[in-house]
C-alpha cells in the first residue's frame, strides 16, 4: 500500500473524530501521515515511512507555509518544540508555553492557548518547551513554572493543571510528555537548582499522580547509598527529554539529568544514581527493571537526557532487542534493552574525560572538575545534547547531530544550597556561545564546528559525516526514501542522502534550528516541518503545473 493510500484510508477513518486512543499511538507506523508523539513513534527512531519526497525530487522542495510567533510568545526564546500532526491539524508550542493549533496544509491558525507562567519560573537555560503529547481529545503540556496541564485539542481550553514541582525551588517542566497506555509520563527539569528529581505517571483525566520513581533515591530506596551523607537531598536527576516505550517488554526507557551541584563532586562522593543514566521502568507501576549509568559521579553537567532509541536488529549475527544512545558525554552506546547489558561504547567526538568504556560498561575516567579548572573535551554542551538522533531501519545507520572539537574549562567550587538559587558548584567556559546569542559566526573553526554523523551501530564506526561551519542544535528525521532532514545554527535546513550524506536540497530559514523536524501528509501530499528562529517552516514538493 502506498503512503498516499494509507493517508487517504486513515483520513477517512478519523474524519469524524479527532480522538487519539492509545492504540493509534502504539501503531503510529500504520498512519505515517500523522505525527502523534514526540519521536513520531514510541521506539524513538524518528523515522517516517512516508516516501513521496525522494532523492530524485528533493530538488523540487519549496516552502509551503510559515507560522511566525507573536506575543505573548517570546520572540528570541529558543523554539525547541517538536510539533504534532493529527489528521490534518498541526499542534505546536511557541516559547515559552503558547500552544497553537493550525491547518497542517496551510498554516492557518485554528486557536491559540497562551499559558501565562508564574513569575516564579526559573530556568537554567532558556524559557523553553519541547512539545506536546496527545491522548483522546486532550493535549498535555509541561509548563516552565512546574505544572502539567491538559488542554482540549478542539478549542484549546484548559481542562486541568497539576503541580509537578514548585517553581520557586527551581522545578520546571520542559519535556514533551509521553503517553503510555492510560498514563501521561513526565518529570521536572531543574538540575541546575538542586531539585530532587523524579519521573512520574499522571492520570490523563484528572492529572492525579499515579506513581513516582525518584531519580535520586531517598533513604531506604536502592541507590541512596551512592550518595555521600545527605547530598541526595539536592541531588538533581532532572527529566527534560522524552523517553521511549517497548510494548512487548512493557518497559519505558528514560534518560536522567545531571547530579547537583553540577561541577562540584566533593560532598556527593559515590556514583550518584540514577543521574546521568538511562532507567528502564514498568510503566504500570514505576518500578525499576534496570538502569545503566553513562557518567557515574558526573562533574561536567553531562546529563543523559537524550532519546533512548529502540531498535530490533541483529547483534553479532543474532536478533536482539537493542537500545542506541548517543550521549552528551561524547560516547555512542549500544545496550541490550531487555537486561541493560552494555554491548558497545565508542566516542563519536573528541573525548578526554575518559579514555574509553571498559568491558563492564564503566568509563575509564581520567578527567575531573577541579578548583583550578580542567580542560575537558567535549565542552559542557556535549558531543550532542537534546537534539534528537534518528535511526533508519532501512539504512541500519544511526544519525547523530554532533558538536566536533569543543572543550570547556570545568571549575569546581564549594557552594551552599539555597532553595531557588542556581546550584552549580562551579562552572564551565564555553567554546560556543549560547544558542540565542547573535547568529553571527566569526570564531576560528578549530574551536568547534558542527556535523551530522551516520554511525554503524554494529561497530560505532562513522560511515559518513556532513560538516557544517557552525554547530547544530537541530534534531534529525529519516524517511523511508532514505533521506535525512536536519538543520543547524546557520539556518540551513537540509535534505541529505541517508546513505552518503550528500546534500540533495537545502533551504534557508534565516534562523537557528533547535528543534526536531517532523514529516506528515495531508491530502496525499508529504510535508516536512521544523521550527527555526521564531517560526515554523513547512516544506513540500512543488505542485505539478
Amino acid at each position: 500500500m502506498t503512503a498516499r493510500a494509507v493517508s487517504l484510508l486513515m483520513a477517512g477513518a478519523f474524519m469524524c473524530s479527532a480522538q487519539v486512543p492509545f492504540e493509534r499511538i502504539l501503531h503510529a507506523d500504520r498512519e505515517p501521515q500523522n505525527w502523534l508523539t514526540y519521536s513520531g513513534n514510541l521506539n524513538g527512531e524518528r523515522y517516517s515511512s512516508l516516501s513521496q519526497i525522494t532523492a530524485a525530487n528533493a530538488k523540487n522542495l519549496e516552502l509551503k507555509w510559515v507560522l511566525q510567533t507573536r506575543p505573548p510568545a517570546e520572540s528570541g526564546g529558543k523554539y525547541e518544540a517538536t510539533s504534532l500532526v493529527v489528521d490534518g491539524v498541526f499542534y505546536t508550542v511557541q516559547p515559552p508555553n503558547v500552544v497553537v493549533a493550525a491547518d497542517a496544509a496551510t498554516g492557518r491558525i485554528f486557536w491559540i492557548h497562551a499559558y501565562n507562567p508564574s513569575q516564579e519560573a526559573r530556568l537554567c537555560c532558556g524559557r523553553v518547551n519541547r512539545g506536546l503529547a496527545i491522548l483522546g481529545n486532550t493535549l498535555y503540556m509541561g509548563t516552565i513554572d512546574g505544572n502539567l496541564i491538559a488542554l482540549d485539542a478542539r478549542d484549546g481550553h484548559q481542562i486541568w493543571s497539576v503541580p509537578v514541582g514548585r517553581p520557586e525551588a527551581g522545578y520546571s517542566v520542559t519535556v514533551a510528555p509521553l503517553v503510555v497506555k492510560d498514563k501521561i509520563i513526565a518529570g521536572p527539569a531543574g538540575g541546575e537548582y538542586g531539585i530532587s528529581g523524579f519521573l512520574a505517571a499522571y492520570d490523563p483525566a484528572t492529572g492525579k499522580e499515579i506513581w513516582r520513581f525518584n531519580t535520586v533515591p531517598k533513604p531506604g530506596e536502592p541507590g541512596n547509598e551512592t550518595w555521600a551523607g545527605k547530598s541526595w537531598e539536592h541531588g538533581g536527576g532532572s527529566i527534560w527529554t522524552t523517553g521511549t516505550y517497548d510494548p512487548a517488554l512493557n518497559l519505558i526507557y528514560w534518560g536522567v539529568g545531571n547530579a547537583s551541584p553540577d561541577w562540584n563532586g566533593a560532598g556527593r562522593e559515590g556514583d550518584n544514581l540514577y543521574t546521568s543514566s538511562v532507567i528502564a521502568l514498568d510503566p504500570d507501576t514505576g518500578k525499576l527493571k534496570w538502569h545503566y549509568q553513562f557518567t557515574p559521579h558526573d562533574e561536567f553537567d553531562f546529563d543523559s537526557t537524550q532519546v533512548p532509541v529502540l531498535a530490533d536488529t541483529t547483534w553479532q549475527g543474532s536478533p536482539r532487542k537493542l537500545m542506541f544512545f548517543a550521549n552528551r558525554n561524547g560516547f555512542f552506546y549500544v545496550l541490550d534493552r531487555v537486561t541493560g547489558e552494555f554491548l558497545l561504547g565508542k566516542a563519536f567526538v573528541k573525548v578526554t574525560w575518559a579514555t574509553g568504556i571498559d568491558a563492564k560498561g564503566r568509563p575509564v575516567r581520567v578527567g575531573h572538575s577541579t578548583p583550578e579548572g580542567a580542560v575537558i573535551y567535549p565542552e559542557n554542551q556535549g558531543g550532542t545534547n537534546w537534539y534528537n538522533p534518528s535511526y533508519s531501519p532501512r539504512t541500519g545507520l544511526f544519525y547523530i547531530p554532533s558538536w566536533m572539537d569543543t572543550h570547556s574549562v570545568n571549575t569546581a567550587r564549594q557552594e551552599e544550597y539555597q532553595e531557588g538559587n542556581q546550584y552549580y558548584g562551579g562552572g564551565a567556559t564555553h567554546d560556543i556561545p549560547p544558542l540565542r546569542a547573535p547568529a553571527i559566526l566569526k570564531r576560528l573553526p578549530d574551536s568547534g564546528w558542527g556535523a551530522f554523523q551516520a554511525v554503524d551501530p554494529a561497530t560505532g564506526e562513522v560511515k559518513w559525516q556532513f560538516k557544517m561551519a557552525d554547530v547544530t542544535d537541530s534534531g534529525v528525521l529519516t524517511t523511508a526514501s532514505d533521506l535525512v532532514f536536519a538543520g543547524g545554527r546557520e539556518g540551513y535546513f537540509y535534505a541529505l542522502d541517508a546513505r552518503t550524506g550528500a546534500v540533495l536540497w537545502k533551504g534557508m530559514t534565516g534562523g537557528q534550528i533547535s528543534a526536531g523536524p517532523v514529516s506528515y501528509a495531508v491530502d496525499g501530499k508529504q510535508y516536512v516541518s521544523v521550527a527555526a528562529g521564531n517560526a515554523i517552516f513547512t516544506y513540500g514538493l512543488r505542485d505539478q503545473q
Binding site: C124, R413, Q422, P445, Y492
Partner: protein, 253 residues
C-alpha cells in the same frame, strides 16, 4: 592571573571613583556568582547577548544599584532573564562585580596617565594609525573602527594590542584573507561565515559576500595584519596613545 588583575583593577576603580565600602572580597564573591550563574547566558565579558553589555556600566532596566539588585533578584518579566532568588548580599556582590568590569579601564588609565593630545598626534602622524583605523568617519577599513574604543576596551587591553596585536584579537575583529579562482586576493574583516559563504568588510570599506566554491581558498587569520609598536614607540608615546584612545567614546557618532 588575568582575573586577579581585573579584580584588583576593579577594586581600585571602585575605591577611587565611588568611594563606598566595596571590598575585594565582595567583588571576588560577585565574580564567582557571575561566572557561575550569569556568564552562561551573558558570556564571561558580559556581552554575549546582543544589545546588552554588562561591562558598560549602563543598564537599560535599572538606574540605581538598588534597581539593579532588584532586577538580578526578580528577573525581567517577558525576557529570558530569570529571577535569581539571591539574597541582598549576593545581589550586591554581583552589582559590585559588574561595576568592576565597567570601571577597570579607567583605573589603569589613572595609574599610568599619558597625554591625550600628544597621543592624537601620534595616532594621526608617526603611528599612521588612520591608514587602517577609522575615528569619527576618517580613516581606513583594514582594522576596526576605533571611534568608541575607549568605551569598549580596557586600557590594559589597548596597550597589549599596540605591543602584541595578535594576542587579543576579538572575534568581532577577525581578519580574513580570501583568494578568488582568478587569483585575486581579497582581505578584510570577517563579519560572518557559514558552510557555503563568507561575509566581510574588505579593506576598501566594501561589503562583500563570497561563495566559497568560487574561491581558491580562504583563511580566517589568527594573527593580526597590524604591526607591533613595541619598538616603534617609546613607553611614554605608548601611554600617550592609549590615553588618547581612552578618550574615544563615540560621542560624535
Amino acid at each position: 592571573m588575568r582575573v586577579l588583575a581585573c579584580i584588583l583593577l576593579g577594586v581600585l576603580a571602585l575605591w577611587a571613583q565611588e568611594g563606598h565600602g566595596v571590598t575585594p572580597a565582595d567583588i571576588q564573591r560577585g565574580e564567582q556568582i557571575f561566572v557561575t550563574n550569569c556568564a552562561r547566558c551573558h558570556g564571561p565579558n558580559g556581552d554575549a547577548i546582543s544589545g546588552v553589555d554588562l561591562a558598560s556600566n549602563k543598564f537599560r532596566h535599572a538606574r540605581t544599584d538598588r534597581e539593579l539588585m532588584d532586577l538580578i533578584k526578580k528577573g525581567i518579566p517577558g525576557t529570558p532573564m530569570p529571577p535569581g532568588n539571591y539574597t541582598d548580599d549576593q545581589a550586591s556582590a554581583i552589582v559590585a562585580y559588574l561595576h568592576s568590569m565597567g570601571n577597570a579601564p579607567r583605573s589603569t588609565f589613572d595609574a599610568n596617565p599619558g597625554n591625550p593630545a600628544r597621543g592624537k598626534t601620534i595616532f594621526d602622524g608617526k603611528g599612521q594609525c588612520r591608514t587602517c583605523h577609522r575615528v569619527n568617519e576618517q580613516g581606513g577599513f583594514t582594522g576596526p573602527d576605533l571611534s568608541s574604543i575607549g568605551g569598549e576596551r580596557r586600557p590594559a587591553d589597548l596597550q597589549r594590542s599596540l605591543v602584541d596585536p595578535s594576542a587579543g584579537i576579538r572575534d568581532t575583529n577577525r581578519p580574513v584573507r580570501a583568494v578568488t579562482l582568478d587569483g585575486t586576493v581579497i582581505q578584510g574583516t570577517l563579519l560572518n561565515y557559514d558552510t557555503y559563504s563568507l561575509q566581510l568588510l574588505d579593506t576598501s570599506g566594501k561589503l562583500r559576500s563570497l561563495r566559497t566554491d568560487k574561491l581558491r581558498g580562504y583563511e580566517l587569520m589568527k594573527t593580526s595584519p597590524m604591526p607591533s609598536y613595541k619598538d616603534q614607540l617609546t613607553a611614554q608615546e605608548t601611554a600617550d596613545l592609549v590615553s588618547y584612545l581612552v578618550t574615544l567614546k563615540g560621542q560624535t557618532r
